[in-house]
């Protein structure tokens, strides 16, 4: 029965991975930026949440309402300034700049907060509680996070498909020059997309900090690499593919953990490599990608 538990766990954590991944995928799809600092931003959001909670003693759930919008604004500003500057130069520049940001953020966090891990304690029964269906145990928090991830993805899809700016984002992603001719300032649209990406990854980071520990290097070790693996497994360019990818990754990891506790991460990466080798366009592909 522990296998079934493992698979359920994997599915649930897959939602979180999808939450991490959708921002990465969005930024690449719209402005062709692979943000190597993507995971570190989630950690930053987590640290900010910890700080806000420590200082103001507000309930944990309120920290979302403060930190996520702040990160979204940060995303807009960073995109309009540094990232746009890098985009105007070359693809290489964007990679170098985001990699530089990642190193600066991680070492900055290391310098100011040490390498110790931190969690977002909430004291809520939510975090540690669980319920059972037969012999299967399901934790409340993972379930809520999964549900949140699905809701966010639904919201994102709704936003992209029906709202004016969602249309503009898709239009700019297709042909930014033609969008200019229609009166759209693509730099502003890029900023909106970045804001959405930063907001979702911040959400994921805080959620992650609630049930696991955050450390300066979590951004790359765990978040960035897993997010990317989820995108590749699921299929570049597909929002629901990202959820599928996250779930497959999560399940693979949990199965690996069942085999040997230290094989959790490795199992996920092996599945990633297998997809890369055998079906590089991912499980749900939307036509030509690479």
């Amino acid at each position: 029965m522990s296998w079934v538990n493992a698979i359920i766990q994997g599915i649930l954590v897959g939602g979180l991975y999808a939450l991490f991944a959708c921002g990465l995928s969005l930024m690449f799809g719209v402005m062709k930026v692979v943000n190597l600092a993507h995971g570190d931003l989630a950690v930053v959001a987590g640290y900010i949440a910890i700080g806000v909670i420590t200082v103001t003693h507000i309930p944990v759930l309120w920290s979302f309402l403060i930190v996520v919008p702040v990160m979204a604004v940060l995303g807009y500003v960073l995109q309009r300034t540094i990232l746009q500057g890098a985009l105007d130069r070359s693809v290489l520049a964007t990679l170098l700049v985001t990699f530089g940001l990642s190193v600066v953020i991680e070492n900055g966090l290391l310098q100011f907060f040490t390498a110790n891990t931190r969690g977002i304690g909430s004291g809520l029964a939510l975090v540690s509680g669980s319920f059972s269906i037969g012999s299967i145990q399901i934790g409340y928090l993972p379930l809520v996070i999964f549900a949140t991830a699905v809701v966010v993805l639904l919201g994102l899809q709704y936003f992209l498909s029906t709202s004016r700016y969602g249309r503009l984002i898709r239009a700019v992603a297709d042909d930014k020059e033609a969008a200019q001719l229609a009166g759209a300032d693509y730099r502003h649209v890029f900023g909106i997309a970045a804001a959405v990406a930063f907001g979702t990854v911040a959400l994921g980071g805080i959620a992650y900090g609630m049930y696991a520990q955050l450390a300066p290097t979590t951004g790359t070790d765990t978040i960035l690499l897993f997010a990317f693996a989820a995108v590749v497994i699921g299929g570049l360019g597909s929002l629901w593919g990202t959820l599928l990818g996250g779930v497959v990754l999560g399940v693979a990891q949990q199965i690996g953990a069942q085999i040997s506790i230290s094989d959790e991460t490795l199992a996920g990466f092996i599945v990633f490599l297998a997809v890369l080798a055998l079906r590089p366009q991912g499980l749900i592909s939307r036509g030509a990608q690479s």
Binding site: A86, V97, F99, G100, V104, L110, S262, F269, I270
Partner: protein, 340 residues
């Protein structure tokens, strides 16, 4: 007269195509003198200094490889630490089985180069941004796999055997010479590669990939060759690392820190020029020595400077020098000379 009209107005005999502005014999002789001087260091300077220089050699070799990848082949790899680690482990494995670690260095290089082939096959179909992260995942995966083998230290690592009974001063000197040799071979290899056909193909790809393909350039093959060479070079650096640290720990030899160093050194020194990494390494070592006690700070500063330069000074410090003096220590391009 514009360049276009000027060139068509003159007879063909008045044109010469040369490899460099100044005579390459001079720079070749100069380089030889520099190498000889460096080779004498263990007799002249304190062993503390040679140890620092070994570090510099490692950084320079890695940075030159990263420069080859990113500056010439357009491949941004954030996973070269995979090869650094592989190189270190090749040396370790051979040392465990009785080979002298120094003799194992060439094997580390070749082995890493060979290992680059299946890795290239896995990631080469990805577009540049995703290619970068994929190399990172590969590096992480390689580390996780190696950690499973307790016979080579598992997750905690182990000391490097093969130096029992070695006189410490002699060991430092040999390590230094090995470092010098690795660096010289690496730079020479890069220079010769870029000076030859590969250099032309890479420049063509850089300018216009579609045109390059349609004129017969084997784009995929060129890139793969560069990836393999860079893998071998980083592998040699990794072997050197193992020797200089006298131990091999997975977390240390597969660290993303190496990529950070390679990338930042190259950007600051000058991407796309062979001289750039040399300049960048000097800056890096000075910075590291000055800030030695401040741990993570020098990486933060380095990162910020690299971001600044990626945005505003893409040709790096060497680019500034080159623009003023038109100096090429490693001439790989062609000049069209108009005889008066």
């Amino acid at each position: 007269m514009s360049l276009a009209t000027e060139t068509t107005a003159r007879p063909v005999e008045q044109f010469r195509v040369t490899r460099s502005r100044r005579n390459v014999i001079w720079t070749g002789a100069g380089a030889l003198i520099v190498v000889v001087v460096f080779a004498l260091f263990p007799y002249i300077v304190h062993s503390g200094t040679t140890a620092i220089l070994v570090q510099a050699f490692i950084v320079l070799t890695m940075a030159s490889m990263w420069n080859l990848l990113a500056g010439y082949a357009g491949l941004v790899s954030v996973g070269q630490q995979a090869f650094v680690g592989l190189g270190a482990y090749f040396v370790l494995i051979l040392a465990i089985n009785g080979t002298s670690p120094f003799a194992a260095l060439p094997v580390a290089a070749i082995g890493s180069g060979v290992a680059a082939l299946p890795l290239w096959w896995l990631v080469s179909r990805l577009r540049s941004g995703y290619f970068a992260i994929a190399t990172w995942v590969l590096a992480a995966t390689v580390m996780l796999i190696i950690e499973k083998f307790s016979s080579i230290g598992g997750g905690t690592g182990m000391p490097l055997p093969g130096f029992a009974g070695f006189d410490p001063t002699l060991l430092t000197a040999y390590t230094y010479w090995a470092g010098l040799a690795v660096t010289v071979v690496a730079m020479l290899a890069i220079y010769l590669l870029l000076r030859g056909r590969l250099g032309l193909v890479l420049t063509a790809i850089r300018d216009d990939e579609v045109a390059a393909r349609s004129s017969g350039a084997r784009v995929g093959l060129a890139r793969m060759l560069v990836f393999v060479v860079a893998g071998a070079g980083c592998g040699a650096a990794g072997g050197l690392l193992a020797i200089s640290q006298l131990q091999v720990q997975p977390g240390a030899v597969f660290s993303i820190q190496f990529t950070a160093e390679m990338a930042f050194v190259t950007i600051i020194g000058g991407l796309g020029t062979i001289e750039g990494p040399i300049l960048g390494t000097i800056v890096y070592m000075v910075l590291q020595q000055t800030l030695a006690s401040y741990n993570a700070w020098y990486l933060i500063i380095l990162g910020l400077v690299a971001i600044f330069m990626a945005l505003f000074a893409r040709r790096g410090l060497w680019g500034l020098v080159d623009a003023r003096l038109n100096l090429r220590l490693f001439p790989v391009g062609y000049w069209l000379r108009l005889d008066k």
